[in-house]
C-alpha cells in the first residue's frame, strides 16, 4: 500500500472534522425519553450541553483541521492526543446533557444518544484510525488510546454519572442476565473454536500425509462455509431431536434439537475452513532447505514437526484462528434464535418488544467481543512470529 508522505498536509482529517462539525450542529445531540418504549424528544447541541461546551467542542474540531494542514514533525502525535481528548470528553458531555435536560420528577425518564452524537463518535473513531495509521508504530499507540478512552467511559459509568443513559438503565435492570449472556457467549464461541482447532489441525496433517485427501477435505469445509447460518442451525434441529428421542440419556446431557448442541455443531462446522486452509498452506509452505537443514542436524520427524514446521507455521495458523474467532462471535449471536443463549438473546428479545435499547445492549457487546478477539489474536500472532522471521520483516 502506498502511504502518503507524512510531511504533506493531511486532507483526510480536515474532511472528517468538517463533516463532524456540520453533523453535530445539524442533528440531535441527545434524546430524552419519558419511558422505555415511547420515542423521546431530541435536543440540539446548545440545548443539550450548553453554549460553552458547544463552543469548546467546535473549537476542538476546528483545531484538528488547522493542525492537520500544518507540516511540523510531531503533528500526528498532536492530532492523536487531541482526538483522544475529544473522545474522552464525550461521556462527560453526555453526563452534562443528563444534568441539564432530564426531568427530576419522572422516575422512568431516560436519556438516549442522538444521531449527532453517534456521528461524532463515528467520525472521531475514523480520525483516530487515520492518525494512528500515520504514526510510526501504530500498535502501541493504538492500545494506549483505546485504554485511555475506555477508562474515562468506565469511570463515568462507575461513578453513576451516566445512570440515566438508556443503555445503562437496560443493563441495570438485568445485571445477572447480562453476566450469564456474556458467559454463554464466550463459552459457546470459544469452545467451538477450540474444537475446530483440534479437528482442523488433524485434517491438515492428514492432507499433508495423503495428497488425495486434499481436494475432498477442502471442498467439504468450503461447502459448509457457504451454507447460511440460519439454514445450518435449522437443518441440525431435526437430526439432533431425533437422536435425543432415540437415546434419552443424551437429554440428561442437555443434547436436544434446540439449545447449545446444534449451535456448537454448526459453529464448529463454520470454524473449520479458515483454520484448515491456513494450517495446510502454512505447513506445506515451510521451505524444503530448512527441513533438509533440520534433518542434517539429526532431528527426528517428530522434532522436525514440533520444533521447526509448527513454529514457522504458527503466525498463519493464528491468523486463521483470528478469522474463525471473529466469525464465531457473530454467529453465536444468531444461535440465540435456537435457544443457545448469549448476547443474541437481548438482540432478538429487543427486536420482539421493539425496545431498541435492549437491542443495543445485545449488539454493542457482540461487536466489542469481536473487536477484542481481533485485537488479542492479532497481538498473539505478532508475538508468535519466530525470531528468524522477525529479522526478515
Amino acid at each position: 500500500m502506498l502511504a502518503p508522505a507524512s510531511d504533506m498536509p493531511n486532507r483526510v482529517v480536515p474532511v472528517l472534522a468538517s463533516l463532524a462539525l456540520v453533523l453535530i450542529w445539524w442533528l440531535d445531540f441527545g434524546i430524552v425519553q419519558p419511558n422505555r418504549i415511547v420515542p423521546g424528544t431530541g435536543y440540539g447541541l446548545v440545548e443539550a450541553i450548553g453554549a460553552a461546551n458547544s463552543a469548546g467542542l467546535s473549537a476542538g474540531l476546528l483545531a484538528l483541521m488547522v493542525m492537520a494542514r500544518h507540516r511540523f514533525r510531531a503533528r500526528f502525535y498532536g492530532l492523536g492526543a487531541l482526538v483522544a481528548l475529544l473522545l474522552m470528553w464525550q461521556p462527560i458531555l453526555l453526563a452534562e446533557f443528563a444534568d441539564r435536560q432530564l426531568p427530576a420528577d419522572a422516575a422512568y425518564a431516560r436519556t438516549a444518544i442522538g444521531a449527532g452524537f453517534w456521528s461524532l463518535l463515528f467520525l472521531l473513531g475514523l480520525m483516530a484510525i487515520e492518525v494512528l495509521s500515520q504514526l510510526p508504530s501504530p500498535r502501541g499507540h493504538h492500545l494506549i488510546l483505546v485504554a485511555l478512552v475506555l477508562v474515562v467511559w468506565g469511570v463515568c459509568v462507575a461513578a453513576g454519572r451516566l445512570d440515566s443513559l438508556s443503555l445503562v438503565t437496560e443493563y441495570a435492570s438485568r445485571p445477572d442476565q447480562f453476566r450469564q449472556a456474556l458467559t454463554h457467549h464466550l463459552a459457546l464461541s470459544l469452545s467451538a473454536v477450540l474444537c475446530s482447532l483440534v479437528i482442523a489441525i488433524a485434517l491438515a496433517i492428514m492432507m499433508m500425509r495423503r495428497d488425495r485427501w486434499r481436494q475432498p477435505v477442502l471442498a467439504t469445509v468450503s461447502f459448509l462455509q457457504t451454507i447460511p447460518s440460519l439454514a445450518l442451525f435449522g437443518l441440525l434441529i431435526a437430526p439432533l431431536s431425533a437422536l435425543s428421542t432415540a437415546f434419552p440419556f443424551l437429554q440428561t446431557l442437555g443434547i436436544r434439537g434446540i439449545g447449545w448442541a446444534p449451535a456448537l455443531l454448526a459453529l464448529v462446522a463454520y470454524s473449520l475452513l479458515p483454520i484448515v486452509r491456513n494450517t495446510y498452506v502454512a505447513l506445506s509452505e515451510v521451505p524444503d532447505d530448512l527441513v533438509d537443514a533440520g534433518r542434517g542436524m539429526g532431528m527426528s520427524e517428530r522434532q522436525l514437526f514440533l520444533k521447526l514446521k509448527l513454529p514457522l507455521a504458527m503466525p498463519i495458523i493464528i491468523e486463521g484462528v483470528r478469522v474463525t474467532t471473529i466469525q464465531a462471535m457473530g454467529l453465536t449471536a444468531v444461535a440465540a434464535l435456537i435457544g443457545a443463549g448469549g448476547f443474541g438473546t437481548f438482540i432478538f428479545q429487543g427486536l420482539g418488544q421493539a425496545a431498541m435499547d435492549l437491542v443495543l445492549l445485545g449488539a454493542l457487546p457482540t461487536i466489542a467481543l469481536a473487536l477484542a478477539a481481533d485485537g488479542v489474536l492479532t497481538a498473539l500472532g505478532q508475538v508468535c512470529r519466530p525470531a528468524g522471521l522477525k529479522a526478515n520483516g
Binding site: M1, L2, A3, P4, N10, R11, V12, L126, I129, E130, S133, Q134, F223, Q225, T226, I227, P228, S229, L230, A231, L232, F233, G234, L235, I237, A238, S241, A242, G257, I258, I326, M329, G330, L331, A333, V334, L337, I338, G344, I347, F348, G350, L351, A354, M356, V359, L360, G362, A363, L364, T366, I367, A370, L371, D374
Partner: protein, 248 residues
Amino acid sequence: MRVFIRPCVWLLALLFCASFMSVFEALFGWFQPGQTSLIYQRAGFLSLLQNHVLLVLISGSIGTAMAVSAGILVTRGWGRDFLPLASQVASIGQTFPPVAVLALAVPVLGFGEAPTLMALVLYGLLPILRNTLVGLDGIAPAVKEAASGMGMSPTQVLLKVELPLAGRVILAGVRTSVTINIATAAIGSTIGARTLGDPVIAGLVNGNTGYVLQGALLIGLLAITTDSLFEALQRTWSQRLLAAAVAG
C-alpha cells in the same frame, strides 16, 4: 458453456423445491406425527424466494457500484490520501458481526425491508472494497506505464487495463459479499423483511420443525446455486483473460 451446467442443475432443484414443497408432505408428516400443519402456508415459497433474491440483488448491485467507485477514487489523484483509511475501514468493518449491523439498522430505519437493505449494502460493501483495493493496487506500475506509453488516456488505462486485470479479485469479493448477504437476508426476517428466513423463524417460534426444515432447505439451495454460479463466472473470466493474452 459447460461450466454453467452445475449452477443450472442447482437452480432447477431450488425452483422445484420452492414450487412443489407439498410433494414432501408425507416426509414431514412422518417425523412430526402429531403435527397438523405440515407445510408453511403463510406465504408462497416462490414469492419469499423472489423477495430474498431481490434483496440480495439490489444490495449487491448498490454495494458493488459504491465499493468499486470508492476503490477507483482512492487509488488515483486527490483521493489517494484516503487510501490508508479506506483499507483500514474495510478490514476493521469486517470484524463487525453481520447480525449486529442488522440489529443496529433498526433504530435508524425501523422494521421491514429498508433496514435490511441498508445493512446488506453497508456490510456487503466491505469485502468488495477490500478486494478492489487489493486488485487495483496489485497491478505492476510497469503495466500501467506501458499502457499510457501506448497512448492510452487515464480513463482508457482504467477501463481497458486496470479493471479487467483486477476483475477476478473484485469478482471474488462480490462472491464473498453475496454469500454473507444471502445469510444475513435470511436473518433479516427477524426485523420484518419477508425472506426465506420467515418459515425458519415461524417454525422456531411455534415449535414446528417442518417449517424450519423447509426454510432451511430453500436457503441452503439458494446459497449453493449462487455460489456455483460465481464459481462458473470466475472460471469464464480467467479463460477470457487467458484467451485475450494468447490472442494479443
